[in-house]
C-alpha cells in the first residue's frame, strides 16, 4: 500500500468531515433566526439539558472546589503562602474549572444523549418522516437543542461557581481551620465581575459545542445500532476536545494583556 495514498485518504476524509460540519453549523445557525419557532420543545430541552444536569454539575463543582483548596493549601504551605487559598479557589473556579468541568460533565451526559436519540431517529427514518410532514428537521430537532444548551450552560456554570467556591470554603474552614470571615473577605476582595462573566461566556460557547456535536453526529449516523453507538462516542469525544481547545483560545483572548 502506497504510504502517500493512505495519508491522502486520511486528509481528504478529514477535510470532508470539516466541510460537512461547517455546512451543518451554518444550516443550524441560520434556522435559529427563521420561523417557525418551537417554544414548547425549547422548554423541554432546557429542562433536559439544564435542570437534569444540575445534580452532576453541582457535585462535580463541590468536590473540585474542595480538592482545589487542599492542593493550594499544600502547595502554598511550602512557600508560606497558605493565605492565597481563598483567592485562587475563587479565580480558578470562576475562570476555568467551573466552566470546563461543567462543560465536560454536560458533554458526557447531554451530547451522548442527543447523538443517541437523533442517531436512532436517523436510522429508523424518523428524520426523513419529519421532512415528509412539512417539518424542517433543523428547526424541529437541532435549533431547540442548541438554543437550550446555549441558554442553560451559563446558568449551570453560575451555580457551579457558587457551589465550587462553597466547596473550597467548607474544606478550608472545616478541615484547614481558616477563619470563615477572613476567607469570605478574601474571596470578595479579589473576585471581580469579569472573572465570573468570562466563565459564563465560555459556558455559552461550550453549550453550543455540546449540542451541535450531538446533533451533527446523530444526523450523520448510519448502519443501525453499531452506527448509533459510534455516533454517541464520537459526539462525546469531539465535544470534549472542542471544549478544551476552545477554552484555551477563549482564555488567551479574554485575558490577553
Amino acid at each position: 500500500m502506497n504510504f502517500f495514498a493512505i495519508i491522502g485518504r486520511v486528509v481528504l476524509a478529514l477535510l470532508g468531515e470539516i466541510g460537512r460540519l461547517a455546512l451543518f453549523t451554518w444550516s443550524s445557525v441560520s434556522h435559529i433566526f427563521r420561523p417557525p419557532f418551537f417554544w414548547r420543545l425549547l422548554g423541554q430541552q432546557m429542562m433536559r439539558i439544564g435542570y437534569f444536569s444540575l445534580p452532576v454539575v453541582a457535585l462535580t463543582a463541590f468536590f473540585t472546589g474542595g480538592a482545589l483548596a487542599l492542593q493550594i493549601y499544600y502547595g502554598g504551605s511550602t512557600i508560606n503562602s497558605e493565605s492565597i487559598v481563598a483567592t485562587i479557589v475563587a479565580l480558578g473556579i470562576t475562570r476555568e474549572l467551573g466552566p470546563v468541568m461543567a462543560g465536560l460533565m454536560v458533554a458526557g451526559r447531554v451530547s451522548a444523549a442527543i447523538a443517541a436519540e437523533l442517531g436512532t431517529m436517523k436510522v429508523t427514518e424518523q428524520i426523513d418522516a419529519l421532512t415528509t410532514l412539512s417539518t424542517n428537521p433543523y428547526k424541529y430537532l437541532v435549533v431547540p437543542r442548541v438554543v437550550a444548551a446555549v441558554i442553560t450552560l451559563p446558568l449551570l456554570v453560575f451555580i457551579a461557581d457558587v457551589i465550587g467556591v462553597m466547596g473550597g470554603f467548607i474544606v478550608s474552614t472545616a478541615s484547614l481551620h481558616f477563619n470563615p470571615a477572613v476567607y469570605v473577605q478574601n474571596t470578595i476582595n479579589f473576585l471581580k465581575a469579569d472573572d465570573v462573566t468570562s466563565g459564563l461566556i465560555k459556558a455559552a460557547v461550550f453549550g453550543f459545542v455540546i449540542a451541535l456535536m450531538g446533533c451533527f453526529q446523530g444526523f450523520n449516523s448510519k448502519g443501525g445500532a453499531q452506527g448509533v453507538g459510534r455516533a454517541t462516542t464520537n459526539a462525546v469525544v469531539t465535544a470534549s476536545i472542542l471544549i478544551l481547545a476552545s477554552n484555551y483560545v477563549m482564555t488567551s483572548l479574554l485575558f490577553a494583556k
Partner: protein
C-alpha cells in the same frame, strides 16, 4: 391537449460514490393514478422516492411535481410543496417519543399549525379509518405490533389529506393476511382522497392489488411500464422472471455458490 402529470422524473441520475443507483431514470405518474414500481432490493426504488421528496438530491435530471421543477425551488417553496405529500415508510418511522395520536396529528399540528384539540379529533377519526380504536391513540409506538404500526403510519400519511401519497414497501414484514388488510386500506384511502399514489414494492400480490399501472426498475432504469392488466403479458424477460420469482433468467443475483 394533455394533462400535466402529477409527478414526472426526467433523466434522473443519482450516485453514491462510484455506484450509480439511478441511471438516467425517467418516469411519469399521471394525476389520480396509482403507480407501483416493482424491482429487487438495491435497484434504486427507495432512492427514487427520496429524490422526489428532496431528502436526497440527484446529480442530474429534472423532477416535476404539478409541472414545477422541485429541484429549482427554494427551501421555503420546497417545504410548501411537501404539503402535497404523505408517505408511508417501510419501517413505519413513527416518532417513538410521541403517543400514537400525536404521531397521526403531527403534520396537522406542526406542519399546518392546527390547534391540538382539533388535530386530535382528526387523528382519532383517521385511526378509525384504518381500523384502530381511540384507545390506541394514547399508546406509544413501541407498545404496538408491526401490523398496527403500519396502520398508524398509514393514518399519519393520510391525516393531512395529501394530493400525493408514497408507499415504501407497505407490506414488508407483515403476514399475508395483515398484508392484504394493509393493501385494502391503501386502496380505500387513495380512492377516498382522490390522491395520486406512487408505491414501491417487491411484493407482487400487493402490486397487483394497489396498482393502476406498474413499472419495473432494474439497475437504476425503468425497463418496463404499462397497465396492471398487461404485467403478465409484458413480453419482457426481466419482468417475467421477477413476477414469477424465478432464480433463472436475465436477472443474476450476486450470491456465492457453495
Amino acid at each position: 391537449m394533455t394533462d400535466t402529470p402529477k409527478i414526472e422524473l426526467k433523466n434522473v441520475t443519482k450516485r453514491f460514490g462510484s455506484k450509480v443507483v439511478l441511471d438516467n431514470l425517467s418516469l411519469t405518474v399521471p394525476k389520480g393514478k396509482s403507480l407501483v414500481v416493482i424491482g429487487g432490493s438495491g435497484t434504486g426504488k427507495s432512492v427514487m422516492l427520496k429524490c422526489v421528496l428532496g431528502i436526497l438530491r440527484p446529480e442530474k435530471g429534472e423532477i416535476y411535481v404539478d409541472g414545477e421543477n422541485v429541484l429549482k425551488m427554494s427551501t421555503t417553496e420546497r417545504e410548501q410543496s411537501l404539503r402535497k405529500f404523505g408517505m408511508l415508510f417501510q419501517g413505519a418511522a413513527l416518532f417513538d417519543s410521541l403517543p400514537v395520536w400525536q404521531n397521526v396529528a403531527f403534520g396537522l399540528i406542526q406542519g399546518r399549525k392546527m390547534r391540538r384539540k382539533e388535530a386530535k379529533d382528526i387523528a382519532i377519526d383517521k385511526l378509525g379509518k384504518v381500523g384502530l380504536g381511540p384507545e390506541v391513540g394514547e399508546l406509544y409506538p413501541a407498545e404496538l405490533s408491526g401490523g398496527m404500526q403500519k396502520r398508524v403510519a398509514l393514518a399519519r400519511a393520510i391525516a393531512t389529506e395529501p394530493e400525493i401519497i408514497f408507499f415504501d414497501e407497505p407490506t414488508t414484514g407483515l403476514d399475508p393476511i395483515m398484508a392484504d388488510v394493509i393493501n385494502d386500506l391503501i386502496v380505500a384511502s387513495v380512492k377516498d382522497l382522490g390522491a395520486t399514489a406512487l408505491s414501491i414494492t417487491h411484493d407482487m400480490a400487493s402490486a397487483r392489488k394497489i396498482a393502476d399501472e406498474i413499472a419495473m426498475i432494474y439497475k437504476g432504469k425503468i425497463i418496463w411500464a404499462g397497465p396492471r392488466a398487461d404485467i403478465d403479458s409484458s413480453g419482457n424477460d426481466y419482468v417475467d422472471q421477477f413476477i414469477h420469482g424465478r432464480a433463472d433468467g436475465p436477472i443474476k443475483m450476486d450470491v456465492l455458490k457453495p
